[in-house]
């Protein structure tokens, strides 16, 4: 294997750097451009999905269905789920930060397959636009992001078919990305860099990509069969034609349970990058972190039927999947304690990045506890398909993944732009988001335990007050994007200059200029053998001269 990283002696590189904003609309092969394309595209879809969530919360402020027609409500909740999962969290935690950071972390100048990388990104905007446009053509899909038959077969076909095609395209994009990450991490490492010296995010992305490659194709195959049922009137999942809906559920959850880990494992990796930098301590328990990730990957593939405890699942299956699911709490718990131990006794600077990371730890442990509770059959049967599940899920994907995305934006914004985000506005953003999020979703646990079903536009009047509380939380979450957006736009032009390494971090992406040159490094990539060597006197790279870290901001 010859990875030659020749010094960039070409004088053109300097003149190439300011290519202007137009490159973000081009078929660029630069992993940094593609990463930001993912991030910005994902954020636009986040705003759209958030607006849909707002519509849902407005509808639910009153127990009667008065804000929009019921079929529109179904379409809105289907689009909300699909957009948030397939167009915001999965592309951003994987595609955006993965593309931007992984080549730096392995010491490469780009991803293994840059062209495939660009194709993977450019599948996303058309798929997303197609999905949203289905609302204007005879109505969007109405069967939720799970598209369970026979509901998905009996609701209007055009919206459902467009939904299937969009998800197939997004799944293809995800698979291409996964193949690229596996090849980049395993094959493109700089000579001398060992696997166990990689930053934790590489391990998270390796595990995630394995899950993507193994499970996404199963969803694709399932959706192709579902489209046959809708278009050609075959009976794979149609009981009236001899089919079996349970088979769909098994195949669907074989992808969609790992999908939760596809959304949250990269977030684990990102948090593991952010915490050591801002608490000036090495990441606690690196090796156990690696094995935990791989344990979650293996276990994550064999727990899918815990979504189906009320689908006539036989007792042995219930037992097996309960135990397997409970086991996932072990590697996840190890990671949780490692993060806390990383913070413990550190010189913590309470900036926006670490606030959001700590918010993640708090929210995620709450979501994790309800997750273990949901794995228990007697409890799950009681709260199945209620708001308890909605609360649990949003604690994982919003309280978990989205908090980490914001934390990562605060952490890597200086890398992207060479400017710092305003910390005061950042802390305000955190405060509103954290309060709004918990106000929105904590009451939903109570709603679920008291029997309010999810996915309905009308509910029993006794739940009115708590629903209104939840809607106020949603309003705060919506408002929280205003300071954030202002901060991002204002700081891009007027923000304080950050210098190359404002956090005095030791991971490889900070050992080059900010924003980085087209080829990532002027000269050879540094060999960082200890990416978390904070507070140690031993050298962290093999280069003869010590890495200069300027004190102070």
């Amino acid at each position: 294997m010859s990875i030659s990283v020749p010094p960039s002696t070409n004088k053109r590189s300097a003149s190439l750097q300011p290519q202007g904003w137009l490159r973000y609309f081009s078929f660029s092969l630069d992993h940094k451009v593609i990463g930001l394309q993912y991030l910005i595209c994902g954020f636009i879809f986040y705003l759209i999905g958030g607006a849909l969530a707002g519509a849902i919360r407005i509808e639910l402020t009153s127990p009667i269905s008065d804000f929009m027609p019921r079929d529109v409500y179904n379409q809105v909740l289907t689009l909300h789920g699909t957009i948030m999962i397939f167009l915001w969290i999965v592309p951003v935690v994987n595609g955006a930060f993965g593309n931007y950071l992984i080549p730096f972390y392995v010491g490469a100048r780009d991803m293994a397959f840059p062209r495939l990388n660009a194709v993977a990104f450019w599948l996303i905007p058309p798929a997303g636009l197609m999905l949203i446009s289905s609302y204007f053509i005879n109505g969007a899909a109405q069967s939720g992001w799970t598209a369970y038959p026979p509901l998905s077969i009996t609701t209007p076909a055009s919206g459902q078919i467009i939904w299937i095609i969009s998800v197939l395209l997004l799944g293809g994009s995800s698979i291409f990305g996964g193949i690229n990450f596996i090849a980049t991490i395993l094959k493109l490492r700089r000579p001398g860099l060992k696997l166990m010296q990689l930053p934790m995010y590489c391990w998270a992305m390796l595990g995630t990509s394995i899950l993507v490659v193994l499970s996404t194709p199963v969803l694709a195959g399932t959706l192709i069969l579902l489209s046959f049922d809708i278009v050609a009137h075959t009976g794979f999942f149609n009981p009236s034609l001899g089919g079996n809906v349970i088979v769909y559920q098994h195949l669907f959850w074989f992808y969609s349970h790992p999908a939760v880990y596809i959304m949250v494992l990269p977030a684990f990796g990102l948090v593991s990058e952010i915490l050591p930098v801002h608490s000036r301590k090495p990441l606690f328990g690196y090796v156990t972190m690696v094995y935990s990730i791989m344990g979650i990957v293996v276990l994550g593939l064999v727990v899918w039927a815990h979504h189906m405890f009320t689908s006539g699942t036989p007792p042995w299956m219930r037992l097996f999947f309960t135990i397997a699911t409970a086991f996932i709490a072990v590697p996840t718990g190890i990671k949780f304690f490692n993060w806390v131990a990383t913070l413990w006794g550190g010189r913590i600077s309470l900036n926006s990045a670490i606030l959001f990371s700590c918010g993640f730890i708090v929210n995620f442990v709450l979501g994790g506890i309800t997750g273990v509770a949901l794995a228990q059959v007697p409890f799950d049967v009681h709260v199945h398909d209620t708001y308890f599940v909605v609360a649990h899920f949003h604690y994982i994907v919003y309280g978990g993944s989205v908090f980490v995305i914001f934390s990562s934006i605060y952490h890597w914004y200086p890398k992207f732009t060479g400017r710092l985000l305003n910390e005061d506005i950042g802390r305000l953003h955190f405060l509103i988001t954290f309060v709004g999020f918990n106000l929105c979703f904590a009451p939903q646990h109570w709603l679920g335990l008291n029997g309010m079903p999810r996915r309905v536009a009308e509910y029993d009047p006794q739940f009115t007050f708590v629903n209104q509380l939840s809607s106020v939380g949603a309003l705060l979450m919506a408002l929280s994007t205003i300071p954030f957006l202002w901060n991002v736009f204002y700081s891009a032009f007027k923000g304080k200059q950050s210098g190359d390494n404002p956090w005095q971090a030791l991971t490889p992406e900070w050992l080059t200029s900010s924003p980085p040159p087209v080829e990532n490094w002027v000269g050879e990539a540094p060999l960082v053998v200890e990416p978390y060597g904070y507070g140690k006197s031993t050298p962290v790279t093999d280069s003869k001269k010590p890495i200069e870290i300027k004190e102070g901001l």
């Binding site: 190439l16 193949i179 493109l188 192709i224 075959t234």
Partner: protein
């Protein structure tokens, strides 16, 4: 070594990009085939579950004839061997022999598709007749799609090997290797499919 920096005029030139690192395209292809194999695994799992839990009414049961699919299996297995021969011929720099073996492989692929077509036309059930008819056509059809793509790939490789510039040589044999790997994969899937669908 040429610089890997993209130039103004041709921002992302293939030649410069290739010079950056070793060729990992086969590794990428293997990852893709794992993913593709998982699609088939999903289909097989669905079919086996149907067999286990969705018993069919007796009048809908139809015993599949074995001769034609057995012939198909032999055709594909032989084609794997002939493709291997083509690769060996290329290693010995015998381009003509390589091209001939490629043509034979493509011919076997087309013969497989034709034979599959004959089977489709002689079967007494259609796509929507019952669950087993649907799974039968979904499985064999999805596999047939792979064979069709593979046959096109072989013909493209053959065309490239034939072109006077010699786009496929002992030094640049990735297209041939990729097509061969894919073809072996499709054959392997057929063997599993044959066992599950026809023999079980």
């Amino acid at each position: 070594m040429t610089s890997v920096i993209p130039t103004d005029e041709k921002p992302n030139d293939l030649a410069t990009e290739k010079s950056e690192h070793a060729d990992h395209r086969l590794f990428g292809l293997v990852s893709f085939l794992v993913a593709d194999g998982m699609t088939f695994a999903g289909f097989f799992a669905a079919y086996l579950t149907y067999k286990a839990v969705n018993p069919l009414l007796p009048d809908a049961i139809y015993e599949l004839e074995l001769p034609l699919p057995t012939l198909n299996t032999i055709l594909l297995l032989v084609s794997s061997a002939t493709f291997h021969k083509a690769g060996k011929a290329l290693e010995k720099n015998n381009s003509i022999k390589c091209q001939n073996w490629l043509l034979i492989t493509a011919g076997l692929g087309i013969a497989f598709l034709a034979s599959q077509m004959v089977e489709y036309f002689t079967l007494p059930f259609g796509l929507t007749d019952n669950l087993y008819a649907s799974t039968f056509y979904a499985l064999t059809g999805f596999h047939g799609l792979h064979v069709t793509l593979g046959t096109f790939m072989i013909l493209i490789v053959w065309w490239q090997a034939r072109s006077p510039g010699g786009r496929i040589t002992n030094l640049n044999k990735f297209p041939l290797e990729a097509a061969e790997l894919y073809w072996h994969f499709v054959d392997g899937i057929w063997v599993i499919l044959f066992i599950i669908l026809y023999l079980l």
